[in-house]
Amino acid sequence: MSVSFEVTQRFTDLLVREAWARDNSRFDEWVAFFDDELRYWAPSRLFLERGQENLGKAELFCHIDEDKPGFLLRIKRLTSGLTYTDEPPPRTRRLITNVLVLEADDSNAEVISYFMMFRSHPGHPDESIVGHRRDKWVRRGADWRIRERMIVIDQDKLTSYLGLL
């Protein structure tokens, strides 16, 4: 394996910190993990004959597909205090496992992580979703930023609002 344990440790640590910021609704801190050239997206999935599913298919329906301005717009909404899905604040928990650095050099890295996200909010049963993320990190000075996050959900049917963002 070409990637040192140190590198895996570094991205594990970053992902854990990122989840901690988000789960605590510290959005300022959280936004700082994302690059200005961001693509934040979650392709929809189908059950097709083996080999037919293509998450990179042109014009595929996405549960979310935002660039940085769209991302910031959503955060502005979430922090407005006016959003009924998020008031009172839901309890979310993003369990991150299986961190796998696919490639990494001094300025770029591609990192897989698995997740189980949990969400509790009054008015509906507790929800959880399972899947993986494929994050492309880029180094900006001393910091690493996520330039692309692709969230791949394994569930067939989505439930509730989810805390995907």
């Binding site: 189908l46 097709l48 549960h63 979310i64 597909d65 909404r77 407005s80 609002y161």
Partner: protein, 420 residues
């Protein structure tokens, strides 16, 4: 459990029990979903012979399949032998599908073409009797394929009635019609399907409040001022349970260059197929519902299609797709796709608010004591029946004319005797 007393037509009240009674839910399967015209697929999903796509009509799994003769048919996705789902993928291409269980084979035209151990069947066994069960009535209306399980029911056009005037505004917006983009979302939520359906049938009242978070971001424009603008640009319609909300001609914030020109050209071109009044509506903000469960939202460049799939009294699936104009430039197509991803789905900044309301209503109304107090649909006044050429019950907005129209139609159908 006592059957809820259905209120008299026209009194603008509904008994909350309609959202909870399991007996009513079972009745709906036959009287609503067994009799109405339901959306099945869009032609653009089936470009080639042999293409199929799977969907559902109430509890019935459905396969829509383009035959080797090019004809689109729809069948119950269930083997005639012992009932196995013959197709287990979302879409694909095949001339013949073989049932996984005992390999009875069915052609794209629904014929039973292969029976293993055929020689061991009795003479009385005639494969012609055991083809796939067709959806008895089908209508491809400018690319939108609708089906009905009511063999002797009315035609799709009669079912739309005068509402066809409005449906054409969407269905015939361009000559080339639509593409339905690949991929979809299924969102399962803990609500009765009618809480969604009543709302999209004509509830514009909730927009500035339930959606206050995006109103604050400037996405809803001057929505509070709608009523003042009269019937010309902003109005609502209810007709035979179908509903429409028209929301002026809003320009999306940060609309890409060329957007207004594009829409203008659409509007101009539409005059070749539609009356000037209709053509003018093609580029309005539109929320259009076809009774009982289909909804189009064309707003701020997004073109969204969805339906409500009942699962139980307290569970519903919403199935979402994106529409784009066939032949539109890539940026215009992408604009629709992104707007649908942003607003109209489980993660959308609009629809997530709505689901929160529906779930809250389920909880608010569940108690037996609460159910003694009817729901109120009084909003709206001065409803006109037919305004100039425009048909249906028309009101300025906000109004509950469309919402209560949904309930009147529902009651009408539920009062009909069960099928023999």
């Amino acid at each position: 459990m006592e059957r809820p007393k259905l209120p008299a037509v026209g009194d603008r009240r509904t008994d909350p029990t309609v959202f909870f009674d399991p007996g009513l839910f079972e009745e709906e399967q036959g009287k609503i979903f067994g009799r109405c015209w339901l959306f099945l697929a869009h032609e653009s999903q089936l470009p080639n012979n042999g293409d199929f796509v799977t969907t559902a009509m109430g509890y019935e799994p459905i396969i829509v399949w383009r035959g080797r003769d090019g004809v689109i048919r729809a069948f119950i996705n269930s083997c005639r032998h012992r009932g196995m789902k013959i197709c287990r993928v979302d879409h694909g291409t095949a001339k013949v599908l073989s049932c996984p269980y005992h390999a009875w084979s069915f052609s794209a035209e629904g014929k039973l073409t292969g029976v293993p151990s055929r020689e061991r069947y009795p003479e009385s066994f005639d494969p012609n009797d055991w083809g796939l069960i067709p959806v008895p009535k089908l209508r491809n209306y400018h690319g939108f394929i609708f089906g009905s399980l009511a063999e002797n029911g009315e035609s799709f056009e009669d079912y739309l009635g005068e509402f066809k005037y409005y449906f054409d505004v969407i269905a015939r917006r361009t000559e080339a019609g639509y593409d339905l983009l690949p991929g979809k979302q299924t969102w399962r939520m803990k609500v009765n399907w009618k809480l969604g359906a009543e709302q999209t049938s004509g509830d514009n009242y909730h927009a500035p409040y339930a959606h206050r978070s995006i109103a604050a971001l400037g996405f809803l424009g001057d929505m509070k001022e709608f009523a003042k603008r009269g019937l010309e640009n902003d109005f609502q319609v209810g007709e035979r349970g179908h509903g429409l909300i028209v929301l002026g001609h809003p320009i999306p914030p940060n609309a890409p260059e060329g957007f207004e020109e594009y829409e203008h050209a659409v509007r101009e071109d539409a005059r070749r197929r539609l009356s000037p009044t209709q053509a003018n509506l093609t580029t309005s903000g539109l929320i259009l519902s076809v009774f009982p469960n289909l909804v189009f939202i064309l707003y701020l460049g997004g073109m969204s299609l969805r339906y409500y799939q009942p699962v139980s009294t307290e569970e519903t699936e919403l199935i979402y797709w994106t529409l784009v104009d066939h032949g539109a430039p890539a940026w215009r197509r992408d604009m629709s796709r992104r707007e649908v991803g942003r607003s109209y789905n489980a993660l959308g900044i609009i629809d997530s608010d709505d689901a929160e309301m529906w779930m809250g209503c389920m909880q608010g109304l569940r108690g037996h004591y609460r159910r003694k107090f009817p729901l109120n649909y009084d909003l709206g006044r001065a409803t006109v029946h037919r305004e100039n050429e425009r048909p249906g019950s028309i009101d300025s907005t906000p109004s509950e004319v469309g919402v209560f129209g949904f309930w009147e139609r529902w009651q009408e159908l539920m009062r009909e005797p069960a099928e023999a």
